[in-house]
Subunit: 294 residues, 2 copies
Amino acid sequence: MAWRYALVIDPAAADDARTDFADTLTEIDPAAPALSVGELSTQRGDGIFESIGVVDGHPQEMNAHLERLAHSARLCDLPAPHLEQWRQAIAQVADAAEPGESVIKLILSRGVEHGPTPTAWVTLAPAPDNTRARERGIRVVTLDRGMDSGAPARAPWLLLGAKTLSYAVNMAAIREAKRRGADDAVFVTSDGFVLEGPTSSVLLRFGDRFVTPEPGSGILHGTTQVSLFDHLAERGFATAYEELPVAALTEADAAWLVSSVRLAAPISAIDDRGLPIDAEFTASLNRYLLSPRD
Amino acid sequence: MAWRYALVIDPAAADDARTDFADTLTEIDPAAPALSVGELSTQRGDGIFESIGVVDGHPQEMNAHLERLAHSARLCDLPAPHLEQWRQAIAQVADAAEPGESVIKLILSRGVEHGPTPTAWVTLAPAPDNTRARERGIRVVTLDRGMDSGAPARAPWLLLGAKTLSYAVNMAAIREAKRRGADDAVFVTSDGFVLEGPTSSVLLRFGDRFVTPEPGSGILHGTTQVSLFDHLAERGFATAYEELPVAALTEADAAWLVSSVRLAAPISAIDDRGLPIDAEFTASLNRYLLSPRD
C-alpha cells in the first residue's frame, strides 16, 4: 500500500474560540520519519484510532467515526478530541484522494512519554481491492476471546468497547484464521456468545430480520453496522441487537462481516460448515455502502 | 524523562555469517522523528519489547531478556531476532549510560505496513527514582483480567505470555489503581487466581518459602523473578511456582511486585488491607538486584 497523504494535528492548539484550524494541521511525507521513538503509541499501543472508508473523495459516516473516537478517548482517559479540528483535517486529507475507494486513518496517541500533550495524525491510502471478498464471500473460524460475557460490565479497565491501538491480539486472530485455511475470524466469549470480527462487526439474517450482538457486550459499536441497520429499516426489514449464542452463526439464513473499508463481506463458511451466500442481496448492501453517506 | 541515546537496528542485515554488526546499527537522535506513520507498532501495537535495567552501565540479565524477546517473537509469528546483533546493539547503547540506574528498551515491530521486514530499535533513558517504592512500599489493588485460568491453554492467539506492544489495558489498569488511591495493580483471573502486575511479577513469602504464579498461567515469565529465585535458593530459601488463589495475597507473610527497573517493591496494602513490610530483607533483595547480574 502506498500512503498517499498524511498530516499531523496539533491537539494542543485546538480551542472553541477558533473556527479555522488550518494552521494546526501540518502536511507530512507519509513515507518519511515523523514520530519519535518516545511515542507511547509505538511503545505501548497507548492511543486510539478510526478507519474511515472514502469513496470518490467522500469520507463515509465521518461524524459517526468522530463520535466513536470521542467515546474511545473517554474510555481511555485521553483528552477529548476537538471534533471540528478533526473534521477539517479529514477534509484536507480527503482532498488528496483519487477516484475510487480509499481509507483514511485517524490516530490519537497519548503522546511522547512524559510529554505534555497527545500526538495525532491522519493518513490516506488507496483501499485494497475487496471485490473478491464482497462477491465470493469469506470463510471464517470462531475463536475464543478468553473472556466471559460479564467481563465488560465488571472490568472497564479492559477497555472493551474502545478502539485502541493495542491490536496485537486482533492481528494474531487473523493469522490463526489463515493458518486454519480461513480468511477471517469471529471472536466468541468463553461462555459461548458471538462478539465481533477482529476488524469488523457480525451481521446475521433470519428471514426478514437482521441481528447483531449487543454493543454493551464488549465489542465496538460498528459504524458500518449502524449505517446498514438504518438502510435495512428503510427497506422494511426488522433490525435488532441481541445476545447471540454461537449456534446462531450457523442457524442464520445468511451472515456477513461488515466494516468501513471491506464493507459487507458475506460469510461462506463458519468453522468449515458452509453457509449460503445471497450474492444479489449482498451487492445491494454494498451499493448502498458505496453511495455517499453522512 | 530525557532519552539519552537511541539506535535503529536493521534486522534484514543480520545473518549467521557475520560476527560484527556495527554497520547494521545506526545511532539516531532520540527526540527527532525516526518512525513513519506506516509503522505497525504505532498503528496496531503490533510488535514486542523488553525493558532492561542498567546499573552503572551494566545491562542486567541481558541474555534472559533476549531469550524472552525470542520467545515473544515465536508467539507473535515475528522473524526470530538475531541475538548477537541485539547484544552488540545493547552494548553500544549501554556505553552511553551515566553512572547509576538507567533503562534500555528493545523494540521489535512487525515493520511498516506491507513492508518487507520488521523494524527494530533500542533506546536508553535514565531510570526514574524508585527509592520510595523500594523502601516504603506500594499499595496495590486486585483487578480482574477478564479471563479464566484456562484461557492461555485453549486460546494461544490471545498472546498471553508474549510481551507485546499492545499495553493499553496494562496502562488502563495502573490508571484505575491510582483512581482508587493505590500505586499499582495485581491482575487476577475471573476464577480467582493471582496473575501478575501490569508491568511486574508477583512474589509472595510464606515463612522461608517464596512462591510466584505458574508462568504457564497466562503471565510473562519475569526475568527479575527468575533472578531472585536463584538468589533466594542460594540463601537457602525454598522457591516454587504455584497456582495461587487470590486469598494467598493477604495470607502471605510478605509480598512484592518485582520488575527490571523498579526492582523489588514491597506491597504495603492489598485492596486497603495492610501487609507487613520487612524493610531490611527487601533492602537485601534490592542490593542483590543492583549488583552486576548476567
